[in-house]
């Protein structure tokens, strides 16, 4: 009796026990399926389980996105992306960054602080016109005054000071100013599978709001840099 991993052959032996053996050959975690088959089952489960609610639409949330697809697969496999693939994804996201049309990168840090405090917007209990927050404090320490901050992201306290930014308009500061804008607009341009949302790219924050958050981080007068 020939024994291949083909399930078809296993079926032809008409034995349930052999069938399990056939299905299990090179399969994932004894589930009897290959990883690709499990991905397909998962897609079906998603399709059958989730429904639109309020402003949140199934078609948008699960829309095909090469960045999400690659990073999700890497997490399931428990392996980081191959460095070359990570570079490709970062380049893909870099292209999406919308740089300020007027060349002005810094807005009002006080408005930036308000945005950083707010975690509102885009849930199924929010309205379409609920102003989106930046969700910044949920994951980052930012000012010394706010002690209720999360730790999923690094501390941003003294962000500009540590990086030696004394005048954000100076030529020496341009590299860090641009990086800060880009990171907020699309975090995945710098770290393919970053935990951070792509605030500009996904339309969570607009250009003026990104400007205000850049100011919160880089304006020497901002409490971040005191």
């Amino acid at each position: 009796m020939k024994f291949k991993t083909s399930t078809k052959l296993a079926l032809s032996t008409a034995s349930a026990a052999l069938l399990v053996a056939g299905c299990a050959g090179g399969m994932s975690q004894g589930s009897g399926m290959t990883s690709a088959e499990l991905d397909a089952v998962t897609q079906q489960v998603v399709k059958d389980s989730f429904h639109d609610k309020g402003i949140v639409k199934v078609s948008q949330v699960f829309a095909e996105d090469p960045t999400m697809k690659a990073c999700n697969a890497a997490d399931v496999a428990g392996q980081p992306l191959a460095p070359a693939r990570a570079k490709e994804i970062e380049a893909l996201n870099m292209k999406t960054i919308h740089w300020p049309a007027n060349g002005k990168y810094l807005g009002d840090w006080k408005e930036g602080e308000k945005l950083a405090q707010s975690g509102r917007g885009r849930t199924w209990t929010d309205k379409a016109d609920t102003p989106n927050g930046g969700n910044c404090y949920n994951c980052h320490q930012i000012t010394k005054q706010e002690i209720s901050y999360g730790t999923i992201g690094p501390s941003l306290y003294n962000y500009g000071k540590i990086r030696g930014v004394t005048d954000p308009n100076s030529p020496q500061a341009q590299e860090i100013v641009k990086y800060t804008w880009g990171k907020i607009w699309n975090s995945k341009a710098y770290n393919a599978c970053s935990n951070m949302p792509r605030a500009g790219h996904m339309g969570i924050l607009n250009e003026d709001q990104v400007r205000d958050i850049v100011a919160l981080l880089l304006d020497p007068k901002s409490p971040v840099n005191q």
């Binding site: 999400m68 199924w124 999360g150 999923i152 996904m202």
Partner: protein, 267 residues
């Protein structure tokens, strides 16, 4: 694709036959609150309601749930909670506690599952299921989680749950793992357990149903997952849908050996 279809079909056949340093963290604050409430967790009220609902003759069939099979045989409640979700031969499905209760309410009492599935949290039959889940959970208090993985469908659901756990999407690119993928992290001051591994006794999967102090509500696991998905900016998962059951399998199997503290008390 053909191989997959065959594999799936065949498995179906088989299955049918077989901190910030200075400040107080939320954990510390809740610990203190728990101590204060040791003699009176408001969850007790839901627990009592659940115990009554189990023996009460209800529904179009005027029957109790005492013959309900939660996985350890008809009427066996003790120890059932820490082995769910699991595969049930009569429905051919992997079910969590709440989806199993829907089956029992439907078959024994004639109560339409739609009353729960299309219902609202804390209201009507959905509130009854939460109370039942609270009582059934409490009957396994202190017992270690030990979900079966002997059935192929249970193993498939684990793998599906894992994929759902790591599935980023939506406007914010969030997955379950965005918040629950690393040890020792917080959102604001809220401590976050890492649920891709075993978070320990009474943490994560081993802590729901729980009474939530902040809104004065009793939350089941279905409610907990539902609100996680809301905050994740995902669409709503159906009540007792396969996605929620698969996540339950993933979290429950990961928690193997950890002891249940249900009914817990939470922020």
């Amino acid at each position: 694709m053909q191989a997959r279809a065959l594999c799936l079909a065949a498995l179906g056949v088989l299955a049918a036959s077989t901190p910030a340093l200075a400040q107080k963290t939320s954990t510390q604050a809740i610990e203190e609150y728990r101590e204060m409430l040791q003699d009176g967790n408001p969850a007790d009220l839901y627990e009592m309601k659940g115990a009554e609902l189990w023996t009460k003759k209800r529904g179009p069939k005027g029957a109790s749930l005492e013959k309900c099979d939660l996985g350890k045989g008809p009427g066996v409640v003790k120890g059932a909670f820490v082995e769910l979700p699991r595969y049930f031969a009569d429905t051919g499905k992997v079910q969590d506690l709440e989806s199993r209760l829907l089956t029992c309410m439907s078959t024994l009492q004639g109560i339409d599952p739609k009353e729960v599935i299309d219902g609202k949290w804390g209201k009507g039959e959905r509130a009854n299921v939460t109370a039942l889940a609270t009582w059934i959970g409490s009957e396994s208090k202190g017992m270690p989680f030990n979900l079966p993985q002997s059935n192929a469908k249970e193993r498939v659901m684990y793998e599906v749950g894992k994929r759902l756990f790591f599935m980023r999407g939506g406007s914010h690119d969030f997955s379950c793992a965005s918040c629950h993928g690393e040890d020792g992290k917080r959102i604001r001051l809220q401590d976050l357990p890492r649920l891709s591994g075993n978070p320990g006794d009474g943490v994560g999967f081993a802590a729901w149903p729980a009474y939530r102090v902040s809104n004065g509500q009793m939350w089941s696991m279905q409610h907990r997952l539902n609100d996680c998905y809301r905050q994740q900016r995902f669409p709503e998962p159906g009540y007792a849908s396969d996605a929620t059951v698969a996540l339950g399998v993933y979290l429950g199997v990961n928690a193997k050996g950890s002891k249940s503290i249900v009914p817990a008390i939470k922020r």
